[in-house]
Amino acid sequence: MKLNQLAFRNIFRRKRRTLITASSVAFGVLLSVTFTGTGDYTYTHMIDAGAKMGMGHVTVEPVGYQNSPTLNKKLQHIDKMLDEIRNLDNVSDAVPRIMGQAMFASANKSIGGVFIAVNPNIENAKNNLFIQSLSEGKLFSANSKHGIVVGYKLAHKLRLKLGKKLVYTTTDASGEIISRIARVKGMFKTGVDTIDASMVLLPLAATQQALGYSSNQASLIAVLIHDQRKADDMRDKIASLHSTQNYEELSWHEAQPDLAGVIAMDKSMNYISQFLVGLIIAAGILNTMLMSVLERKHEFGMMMAVGLSPQALFKLVMVESFWLALLGLTLGIVITAPWFYFLYYHGIDLSSGFGDDFTYGGVLIDPLFKARLFPESIVFILGSVFSLAMLAGAYPAWKAGRTPPIESLKTI
């Protein structure tokens, strides 16, 4: 049977209606791409920013460090672990860090905060958000004894300028209170107020010495990977390494549960709004398809009278839906491509609406409204819009198959 040919002719008989139906499908693609694309972009951005703020996508740390991060818990033989981890596929970087709490004091004031001791030879703007957001000065060198990089708000509170000194006091590995002097080498401005007001970077080697650590000890290893979605796989892979046996491995979900919670909530909100948009679009398609079926009642009656089976009619309308959906998708891709291109490369600047605080859930977000799509997201969008269109065509098709021939012929 020439259902395809018939369906085609039917579609193009009413060009305007076809266009309207196809446009609503296309519009669905556009909205779906916008929602999913910004989601994909924003979450990746947030997760990567979170990872670069200290813990990485995957963290190797001493058992129990997550719940009580004290300086007497430390990793041994970090060189071996770093070697093994860096050799894994998909790992973009692995860096040792010491994180701890300290009091920072100048002659004017003292403030409690957090220090991250980093090795400047292997830390850079790519794996460390603080280095990326240096606003004044520069990072200390690897053998620096007194270098420190502080958040600009902390510096402001302590009335520090570049080159000025501050004293930090903390508890070393054996529980003794130690004080050391440091001179401000640089300042960073991440845009997260709480971080800018409480965080400092210290040179790893000097910190190891001050805390009584050997050069092969640290509090954690932050592992950064190319694709944040593979964090859980990577965690399991790292956990199965020989050198990490006595330690705990956490993915960013576990190391930063607040961030994971924020993203999960935002994602479900996104899904709900996508679902609602989908419903409206489906209603639109249903409407036009139903109209086209009811309009052709007479015609269907005639076809049945000359011997077309109800199944064949059902199929006919479904095939029409199929081609309509396909047309709609094509149109959708055509109109979405430039929009997506714009969002991907330029984005919309929302910074005026944010004020100065570009944070959400304690993590930096990009004030640009940008989009990116994972391959599976594209498949998901096209697949769901297509099946939505087909689903919306099902009822009219069923209706068409049930056309009573005699009655239909009576009405003109």
């Binding site: 709490q101 300290a102 009091m103 004091a105 100048s106 002659a107 004017n108 003292s110 409690g112 004894k145 007194h146 009335r159 000025k164 000194k165 501050l166 004293v167 006091t169 903390t170 508890t171 003794e176 209170i177 130690i178 004080s179 050391r180 002097i181």
Partner: protein, 249 residues
């Protein structure tokens, strides 16, 4: 009380002053004047801040430079609260909860008993000689008094927030007059003034220490000495952490 000595110690600090002998001799002499082998004292602590003013009576004991114990005698609400300094650590004992707390690094920079001194000030006192280089920066008449002025500059690696400390001492009796702490920009950060000369433990000494933070002109902390006995017999175990509860009685 002991903290008075500690503060005095900050400027007058003893023994191992590097540099020329005259400087170290005078500083040691002044220090010896204040710090016996051990001490017992009763003093009043007055604190005036923007938000509150309070007055406390304190009793304190000390032995050497590293050990001291301070106990609140009044007001009743805080009676029995003790601060123990032993070597590198400071402990606080609260009678209400019957608990001894070792101050963590995070508490070192917080105020001691609501005054303008921090716990860290108490702890660092005895290490001043390691942290600073002293020299005589002025000698002669100032404000109608013959004085010697010492300038203490922090050593390069020393964990000290100050830019410098300037100490004025009476030229004849070597009694402290004023001690000024400067920040790194050489702006005054706080000033200690020593007044109320009176006979204590057999010698003339200032009995009032006035501490004024530079950025809060209406605030101060004041120690006023009532009694002082030097070189009393006292055992090391008196300053044990476990002895805190015993002293409570």
């Amino acid at each position: 009380m002991r903290f008075y000595w500690i503060l005095l110690g900050m400027m007058i600090t003893t023994s191992a002053w590097a540099g020329d002998t005259r400087t170290s001799n005078i500083l040691s002499e002044v220090d010896d004047l204040w710090r016996g082998k051990s001490s017992h004292a009763i003093a009043t602590l007055n604190i005036q801040t923007q938000h509150y003013s309070r007055s406390m009576k304190l009793e304190s004991w000390s032995k050497g430079k590293e050990k001291s114990l301070t106990k609140v005698l009044s007001p009743l609400r805080e009676k029995g609260t003790m601060t123990l300094k032993s070597g590198n650590h400071i402990y606080t004992y609260l009678p209400k909860t019957d608990r001894t707390i070792r101050l963590s690094s995070g508490m070192m920079m917080s105020s001691w008993m609501g005054s303008h001194l921090t716990n860290d000030d108490l702890l660092k006192e005895s290490r001043l000689e390691d942290d600073f280089d002293a020299r005589i920066s002025f000698e002669g008449e100032r404000h109608g008094q013959d004085i010697i002025e010492f300038t203490l500059l922090p050593k390069e690696d020393a964990a000290v927030v100050w830019g410098k400390i300037v100490l004025e001492v009476e030229a004849k009796r070597h009694l402290p007059i004023k001690e000024v702490f400067y920040d790194e920009d050489m702006q005054v950060s706080r000033t200690f003034t020593f007044t109320g000369l009176k006979k204590l433990a057999g010698k003339i000494r200032p009995s009032v220490l006035h501490i004024a933070p530079a950025d809060k002109p209406n605030e101060y902390t004041e120690f006023i000495f009532q009694e002082l006995t030097l070189n009393i017999p006292i055992s090391d175990s008196f300053f044990n952490k476990s002895a805190l509860k015993r002293h409570q009685r």
